[in-house]
Symmetry: C2
Subunit: 583 residues, 2 copies
């Protein structure tokens, strides 16, 4: 079989205008960006359709994955292609890949095989510049903070006010909560000191501790994904709390007079990018928050546009159903007011066996070959993880279909066994193999049929918490009902922060928990369906613009690092100027 | 008169395909990026024209400017429009503006009034993402350096080699010469410590001193501007020296195995972006090195494309003729092998009076009103600066035309006086007023006529130095013949560096001097035509990929800072989602 980039390069793509027309877009509702991308004017589309009803909304999630991922994106794209082969009107909504994983260990995030968004190199690199815009807008606020700090400290507050006519903000340099961001895996930037000077000089600003997150973890990325239009985005940006003054009062982007400029930088990013799958399914790409250290879902704006244009919209939420799916239901749906009609739970034989606890899996090391040899005992042990995720989705009162993302070497008897166990667990649950990678849409028709059936089931979507509940109650709900923890523990710091955020009037926020995706608990070593664990929260962060309180568990880090042999080493251009080594 | 952005928004622009066709591009030679931008396939164009002769190459420079600039870009664009009104086939080549000045103090860089590149907001913000690509590629190398340093130090060299199969690079953490970059004015990032850790942990890498430059000063930006095609860029990137090992051997991007990936990130950036002036002149925008802290000229690729397509190509070099023009002649022309046919020297009455030394001008403060009231004595005193720049251009044996960029309030008698002095200095020199700002192309017809005449003069282009000369000889040539300094002094550090670069085999490099643009000397306070000054070089940097030795004078900084009332405070979106406050 050809490599992903070879398949992407050898498949003849349609002009993007043809894809836009297939999606039902009018010529004045999109702007082609080269041959195979377009920016969609979301506001124009939503205005045209206004009161019309929406298509069916299909959310793809997964069991607890191995570090390599279990093919959720390939299944998402393949399922859309399968629905199209059945004559349905369909669109896909996915996130924009970050350059961090592309150059790090995971490689690209465009699906793979015959179920890719194409051209995959354009998707995986700059696309239409939205992540760059998030990075630039974010760091503009950082420069504004440090410049203000510098000028106020240098002049003294009274002199500063007299000279500039501005009110001194009296930023506490030890209480700046807006870190900088960069779209790379760069561990050396996790903790930095800024504003350093040559001896006896002070031209470079005020010395303070700072750090960089990856851009996917920026609050602006969450705002881009959650905003309902440009004006909503402008207001949310204005509300961002970037620092506190010496009296512990919050200082916002609005106070810095930088919220307007940040919005200007994000003006084009507010619109989704249209691309196509290898079989021509119109695909919207918009926003790229990770599901471990951010809220893990593509944008509300893209969903809304797609739901007006298509009868079926397939989207995905990052990592397992404890991760992106939880946040789709409790954070995103609370803003969009739009529940999924059906949930697809992706599993692989490999991932279930890895969840058995019977293999010696080490982070950063390749998966052992023994994972793909037949082993019913390991599969049985790992089934507990699948069962947990099925029950988790049922908790939200949503219909679920299990999709077995098949690898060529997978055992038919293991797959049959798996189907049997699922049937014994609940005969109502759909189950189908997906051969999206090897066969494209033809390989997912059984899955598509199961999904169509599930979409017709009535559901009574029930998130884990409501706006009115207190912050601690919300955190507890996600920890105990969402993850199955026995108890939630907040560090002393987190308790103080919770009290402060409550006192500042942010008690109605959602909660966004950052944790490892490699276990349902916050301990990556606990495989399968861990019970009898507690969830420890070490630190909270107020994301007043995004509308959630961000909670960090364990030693989760918001800036990944590069391994000793990063993916970038394989990348180059060939003699014809074509990209090689991208997967 | 309307504001720049109002004029830009209310002028009806042509579809970019119509502009491309006007320029003579075939449909397969450009990719539209939205309605008003296109990426031009430079290689396809150059292949089609191959041996055909080039158009005339007109280089716009200026006298020593005030910090607000003297309208070089407005004159460049206006002159192109003027040539077009005279029925000539013309294209313009300019640099992409950096977001630093846009949000800082200077505002945008799209020209102004009725001589703008449009839409000016798209030009001034992301354009087609080339600067973001430079930033991303640059910082990928930084992440690669720190990751390699971390893994080798953590494991020990032998263990690292045994485990990875890679050769240990033994990077000296105190001798990493590749700083990070960001496209903002952010003084707090000038000097930082990276790789810091929580007490008793070492997960965040190796602690070392680092700093950020503005992206315009990145060696990658110079490479983008100087490369002749994608493969030349790939080779140049491989040659970049990022650090030295403990035995003082250079470590390159090739050694880090990151040069291929950096090229992949810059793959789209290698092609110029086509836009239009308000009167529809096809305009190529490509690369954005500043002329004080970098080599200050747009790309060789864009020039080559334009020179094949048009009979007249107008480009500009940053700041005064001691700055970007010097580098155009001594760095850029040495690679492109293409000398200008005519040089346009832009002056304003304001800038000449400011050069008189008779006014109290302070950096950061507004210019005094008295600068625009009639004052023949001040103009006479400031004329020394114009005279210096005229003689400077003659030194290169190029024809020169002086363009007086007229402001509405300028005095006719002062302008007449100025013309008289120029005539007395040399009756061969062309002189014309330009009313590009207020009137567009119609306002520059006299200038265009003078330029057409100058283009027919024979010239015998003579740069200040040749490749064969030694590095010290080249630096001395620019300091003494280029600036008129009495002598060149190298700090002890710079002397050591010079010896090392020579020993490493880089003696044939060009030299790129970073200095203030506000004086012909390296001391911003010395106005007019300073004599009897020495040039002090404090530090050298090897830019082996760009092909020059970079020399820092005085206290010039490669990362600007934000003022206490930055331009970003005025920016916002209005009720219709349109950008306001951009100038």
């Amino acid at each position: 079989m050809l490599s992903d980039i070879e398949i992407s390069h050898t498949t003849e793509l349609k002009p993007i205008a043809a894809i836009a027309h297939r999606a039902g877009l009018h010529d004045n509702e999109f702007n082609a960006i080269g041959a195979h991308k377009a920016k969609v004017d979301a506001q124009a589309v939503l205005k045209r359709f206004d009161d019309q009803h929406d298509g069916k909304f299909i959310l793809v999630t997964a069991v607890t994955p191995t570090p390599l991922g279990e093919g959720k994106t390939v299944t998402t794209i393949g399922l859309s292609q399968g629905l199209q082969t059945l004559g349905r009107s369909v669109m896909t909504c996915i996130r924009q890949p970050s350059m961090g994983p592309v150059f790090g260990v995971k490689g690209g995030a465009a699906g793979g095989g015959y179920s890719q968004v194409a051209p995959m190199d354009e998707l995986n690199l700059h696309l239409t510049g939205d992540i760059h815009a998030v990075t630039a807008a974010h760091n503009l606020a950082s420069a504004a903070i440090d410049a203000r700090l510098y000028h106020e400290q240098r002049d003294g507050y009274e002199a500063f006010e007299a000279r500039t006519g501005l009110k001194a903000l009296r930023i506490d340099p030890n209480h700046v909560v807006w870190k900088r961001v960069i779209d790379h895996n760069d561990r050396a930037l996790r903790m930095v000191t800024v504003g350093l000077n040559e001896p006896n000089k002070s031209v470079n600003g005020y010395v303070r501790q700072d750090g960089f997150d990856i851009s996917a973890a920026s609050e602006l990325m969450a705002i881009l994904a959650l905003a309902t239009d440009l004006h909503d985005m402008r207001k949310r940006i204005g509300r961002i709390v970037v620092a506190y003054d010496f009296d512990h009062n919050p200082i916002t982007a609005e106070d810095l007079q930088v919220a307007g400029a940040m919005t200007v930088v994000l003006k084009d990013a507010i619109n989704p990018t249209l691309m196509q799958s290898l079989e021509g399914v119109p695909t919207l790409i918009h926003a790229g928050p990770f599901a471990n250290i951010a809220h893990g879902n593509s944008s509300i704006i893209a969903d809304r546009v797609a739901l007006k244009l298509a009868d079926y919209v397939v989207t995905e939420a990052g990592f397992g159903s404890d991760m992106g799916f939880e946040k789709a239901c409790n954070i995103k749906a609370a803003v969009s007011n739009h529940a999924p009609d059906c949930v697809v739970l992706v599993a692989t034989l490999r991932s279930l066996k890895a969840n058995s606890g019977l293999y010696d899996l080490r982070p950063g090391a390749a998966l052992p070959d023994s994972l793909v040899t037949e082993n019913h005992a390991a599969l049985k042990a790992g089934f507990a993880n699948l069962e947990w995720h099925i029950n988790n989705i049922k908790k939200y009162q949503l219909p679920v279909v299990v999709a077995l993302n098949r690898f060529p070497q997978d055992s038919d008897s293991e797959i049959a066994q798996l189907g049997q166990w699922i049937h014994e667990l609940d005969p109502e649950i759909g189950f189908a193999q997906s051969e999206a990678f090897a066969k494209g849409g033809i390989g997912t028709q059984a899955l598509a049929q199961a999904v169509l059936k599930a979409c017709e089931q009535p559901h009574n979507f029930t998130p884990l918490y409501t706006t009115e509940m207190g912050l601690l109650e919300k955190l507890t709900a996600v920890a105990t009902r969402g993850y199955g923890a026995q108890a939630l523990h907040l560090s002393e710091l987190a308790q103080q922060q919770l009290a402060r955020f409550d006192a500042l009037g942010f008690g109605s926020s959602s909660v966004c928990i950052a944790k490892t995706p490699l276990s349902i608990s916050a301990n990556a070593a606990l495989k399968g369906a861990p019970k009898a664990f507690d969830l420890d929260i070490r630190e909270l962060k107020l994301c007043a613009g995004a509308g959630f309180i961000y909670a960090l568990t364990g030693d989760v880090m918001t800036m990944p690092g590069l391994s000793d042999k990063p993916a970038f080493m394989a990348l180059d251009i060939d003699a014809n100027g074509q990209i090689i080594g991208l997967s």
